[in-house]
């Protein structure tokens, strides 16, 4: 059963080949057997999952279903889940049990989707390797000594290892697309404002966006159908029409204009990844697409700009963790300041503290104009680059990441080199555009991702473009089967 896509599982449940309870038990069994090795889950909610599955089976019997009713998925541990620990990968929230559901979680629950549990992640979503999690690093199912990427590394590894057919993720600077690329799955970061951020623990509020992580583009469309839409509880969610994303999947690509940004093929890109991306582009040409070289001249400024804006927003967002109302509290505080400063010293990990300090510095008197305001101006230049490009093309393509999965520990002592892994994904977040990563090759046993970037609210076209590629190729069907078999033994 775990080899099936969401679309196939949906059909299987509808035709009675198996029940939601059987399916859920199957996945829980796989998690119990295999996840001690991968560490992709922080919490497994077996009891709740089985109860949800029983309820879903009743819904299926009565015909009151949605396409995903009865299908088990996993949620990144950044989404609040009523009654279920939501840690955000941090010691700070190791004891936090939210009293409410995130809108994304609520929508899946209402659709009868079963939640298997909460997936591992970099602490407060700050990282590209999952190494900053309080719960330990996640292992890449393709290569156990390598990172799965981050911050949604647990969500990516769980789907790649077939411990869940799909998962939710969030993406502030590449946190859906980069782990999707490194784990050989499909990941979509929608347009900023497409999916509600309510109940999603905030990292950088002007960049954060939730999206699906799946094996296929068709599955991502099915997930986005549930996730997308305006939400009164998130004033930054946008009131835009939400199409049925599965309807556009098979549209013909003849005449599609693909822009290839020359800045995405410069120094630092692994030649084998470049070759994989070029082969994918050739495939698109054979599907009728027209390829044009474009320029996004401010690309090199994206990482610097991001590392002011994201930490600045984080320093404000994370000020709420003070040891008073919920979360970690230090022992025997001497005075109020001691309570705050020691709670935060002990409750946050090094990377989170580093970013809070940078953000505090950038926003402090005397430095604001030079850093924060400057970064916001550069941000507009980056957005303008994309706006100019989209006058001539329908979709932009390039690599998702410059390298395949790196080894655990390889970059953990060098933050800047870790940050540069996100060089191709960050510009999309700064501009607020939708971006996607789909599998496009395997290099020395490790997956390579192709990135697709679309215009605002054009997720339907991105999914269509990704789906047509997946109809013509089989990279998305490759799994780390031999690795998983080794773990099974």
């Amino acid at each position: 059963m775990h080899n099936k896509t969401l679309a196939e599982l949906s059909k299987g449940l509808a035709s009675g080949d198996f029940s939601s309870s059987e399916l859920t038990k199957h996945y829980i069994g796989r998690i119990k057997q295999l996840d001690p090795t991968f560490n992709s889950f922080i919490s497994v909610t077996e009891e709740q999952a089985l109860a949800q599955a029983t309820a879903a089976d009743s819904r299926i019997a009565s015909g009151n279903t949605t396409p995903l009713t009865g299908i088990p998925i996993a949620h990144k541990d950044i989404f609040c889940t009523a009654g279920v620990k939501t840690s955000c990968g941090s010691k700070m929230l190791d004891n936090f049990i939210p009293p409410y559901d995130a809108t994304v979680v609520e929508k899946f629950n209402q659709s009868g989707v079963v939640s298997l549990g909460k997936t591992n992640m970099d602490e407060f979503a700050m990282g590209s390797s999952n190494e900053s999690s309080f719960y330990g690093v996640v292992k890449n199912p393709w290569s156990l000594n390598c990172v799965p990427g981050g911050s949604s590394g647990g969500s990516a590894a769980a789907v790649a290892a077939q411990l869940a057919p799909a998962s939710t993720g969030t993406d502030t600077g590449g946190s859906i697309r980069q782990p999707a690329a490194l784990c050989g799955i499909t990941g979509l970061k929608p347009t900023y404002g497409r999916v509600s951020r309510y109940g999603m623990i905030a990292f950088a509020s002007s960049l954060d966006q939730a999206g699906p992580m799946t094996r296929t583009a068709e599955d991502a469309a099915m997930m986005l159908n549930i996730m997308a839409g305006v939400d009164e509880k998130d004033s930054t969610s946008m009131d835009q029409p939400t199409p049925d994303y599965t309807e556009q999947l098979n549209d013909d690509l003849t005449g599609l204009r693909i822009g290839i940004p020359k800045e995405y093929f410069g120094e630092g890109l692994t030649p084998a990844i470049e070759q994989a991306v070029q082969s994918a582009i050739k495939e698109y040409q054979s599907l009728g697409a027209i390829v044009k070289e474009i320029s996004l001249p401010n690309t090199a400024l994206a990482v610097p700009c991001y590392y002011i804006i994201a930490p600045s927003e984080a320093s404000a967002n994370l000020s709420r963790f003070d040891g008073v109302r919920y979360g970690y509290r230090c022992e025997d505080p001497e005075d109020l300041l001691d309570l705050y400063t020691r709670t935060r010293e002990e409750g946050f990990g090094d990377e989170v503290k580093r970013r809070i300090l940078i953000g505090t510095y950038a926003l402090s008197a005397g430095f604001y104009d030079a850093y924060y305001k400057k970064a916001q101006q550069i941000r507009r230049l980056i957005k303008n680059d994309f706006a100019a490009a989209f006058e001539d093309v329908d979709v932009i393509m390039g690599p998702t990441v410059p390298n395949t999965a790196f080894e655990i520990g390889e970059k953990s002592n060098d933050p800047v080199s870790m940050y540069l892994e996100d060089i191709y994904t960050i510009p999309t977040n700064l501009a607020g555009l939708p971006g996607m990563s789909i599998p496009a090759g395997i290099i020395e046993g490790k997956p390579a991702g192709l990135q697709l970037i679309g215009n605002y609210f054009d997720e339907g076209r991105l999914l269509n473009v990704a789906h047509k590629f997946q109809q013509a190729t089989d990279w998305h069907l490759q799994t780390p089967a031999s690795q998983i078999k080794r773990v099974e033994r």
Partner: protein, 95 residues
């Protein structure tokens, strides 16, 4: 621009994070690496560029001023570090 050890000693209390004296040099080094990378922004002329806070240049949506939250006292009590008889217990240091 680069950061001095004394800057870390100034920022850390602002950020409400205790930093062990012995860790200050290493933190300063790491942050300086990052600031060095960030400094490439300074070479760009942004004189007439409007700063961008929201990628869609959206403005805050307003709603009617009505009470929409329901009372969740019990739920909030359940996740507080310490409670007694419906009250929140805090360390003596919090007035």
């Amino acid at each position: 621009m680069s950061i001095e050890k004394s800057d870390i000693e100034k920022i850390a209390p602002l950020a409400r994070i205790r930093v062990d004296q012995s860790a200050v040099p290493e933190i300063a080094n790491r942050i300086n690496d990052i600031l060095k990378m960030v400094d490439s922004m300074q070479a760009v002329d942004t004189a007439d560029i409007e700063p961008m806070a929201n990628p869609l240049d959206a403005v805050q949506r307003l709603r009617v001023d009505l009470v929409t939250e329901c009372n969740q006292r019990e739920a909030f009590q359940a996740i507080a570090p310490q409670v007694e008889q419906g009250l929140y217990l805090v360390p003596k240091v919090i007035e």
